[in-house]
Symmetry: C2
């Protein structure tokens, strides 16, 4: 069975999908990713699909599932490297990749994840003064 490697780069896990995904490979990848997110405490998952000529409903569903699992484990998922033809086919097939965020390439995906985390921290910062004013009232 082929196994898709999960690479850790800083605070991000990177997966480059190059092989045709079977049921088994997809399930294995989901398990591996979930385990690595927990083990490393990473807050971002980037899935590179540069090598894919076609994203069918099976792969689309797999990406959505990975995004949902990561979300539960407090990690953002960004799909990067989608070819123009793949995007066109996705729309023509009516596949909307629910809950999946995309970026042009790995670097922009990293920026997107960093920006999202910053926003989250920003939100926390905004919350704190509120909490304090509640304490001092």
């Amino acid at each position: 069975m082929e196994r898709v490697p999960v690479l850790k780069i800083g605070d991000i896990l990177l997966v480059s999908i190059q092989v045709d995904m079977s049921d088994q490979t997809a399930v294995q990848l989901q398990e591996d990713l979930a385990e690595r997110i927990v083990a490393t405490g990473c807050h971002g998952v980037i899935i590179d699909i540069t090598a894919l000529d076609i994203v069918d409903s099976f792969v689309g569903r797999m990406l959505s599932t990975i995004a949902s699992i990561s979300k539960v484990l407090d990690a953002e998922t960004v799909v990067v490297g989608m070819r123009p033809a793949v995007a066109i086919t996705l729309v023509e097939l009516g596949l909307s990749l629910n809950g999946i965020r995309t970026a042009l390439n790995v670097e922009r995906g990293m920026e997107l994840i960093a920006a999202t985390r910053d926003d989250d921290y920003g939100y926390d910062d905004l919350d704190e003064p509120g909490d304090q004013s509640t304490d001092t009232r």
Copy 2:
């Protein structure tokens, strides 16, 4: 024909080899990498072989060729993610992976490349005073 994607992350190009390499795929990868090094001005190439169960003489030669091409284009090549079994087989087969540097994982590979570049700069710094003293003599 399968095509192995080349991902740019900061100053480094990352290649994750997951498919069986044919002659064509190998040549294509070498060309793609050389083009990307020139286009991006990256100084490091990391080749991840986590997914490979076997590194035979063909793949070993391909890695050496990539390292040599990168060297000429002023980029360091580091092979990461080698499995213990692969290392054992390589030694048993008498394949020495000439001119190839290795690291445990992508992050250590990045550190190795960064350290190498720093050393180079350090060397330049040492050179400059010498040049100046030559000028002022």
